[in-house]
């Protein structure tokens, strides 16, 4: 079966541009997560959806970051007015149900480079 997919895989943006990163979770998975992974570090939590509801956005680093999952399936992470410090790999993960005991399945990530 299909895993979590993300697009684009690579994105180069000039400073100040807006970008949109897409995540297609595993079909039927209730929970969806976004993480940011800076070079040489572990992933850091950004935001969490349960179906279409965004239940936790405490990890979003600034109000330039916005995520949505309007129909409880595909999710988009949008970054407005990108800055160099936004350069990172953005990972999406989904899990079958809510709760930390459920395995999170990760996508390949989108590598964002802001020049």
């Amino acid at each position: 079966g299909a895993g979590v997919s993300q697009s684009p895989r690579y994105k180069v943006a000039k400073r100040g541009q807006d970008v949109a990163l897409r995540c297609d979770p595993i079909s039927g998975h209730v929970s969806l997560f976004w993480y940011q992974q800076a070079l040489g570090q572990g992933p850091e939590f950004l935001t969490y959806f349960q179906n279409e509801a965004q239940l936790d956005k405490s990890g979003l680093p600034s109000d330039r970051f916005f995520a949505e999952r309007p129909e409880g399936s595909v999710s988009t992470l949008k970054i407005q007015r990108t800055q160099q410090e936004d350069s990172a790999v953005y990972l999406c993960a989904s899990s079958l149900e809510a709760g930390s005991s459920y395995e999170q399945y990760f996508g390949p990530g989108t590598r964002l480079t802001v020049t």
């Binding site: 992933p43 939590f45 930390s100």
Partner: protein, 113 residues
Amino acid sequence: AQSVSQHNHHVILSEAASLELGCNYSYGGTVNLFWYVQYPGQHLQLLLKYFSGDPLVKGIKGFEAEFIKSKFSFNLRKPSVQWSDTAEYFCAGPGRAGNMLTFGGGTRLMVKP
């Protein structure tokens, strides 16, 4: 776990050597701990997980980890590594909110043939 730390950033081993990667967590609730692996060019995938019960958990590809509550540790082990184990390994636990994961900084393992 509200924070997870990994002691070793880079490890180089020869094939057939034994492996132990350290992971410590600070704890504030239910202990669900994970080890994820990221092979070169691939996405993060689960190696093993601990929720409760037997503190020695076995995962894929001959890996195991032991949960030691008194030491707040969840170290990953493999008796004999292979070149194909070259990868980055991440320990993870629940964050301050129940559903998110908190990751350690990762350990990059290189196995020399």
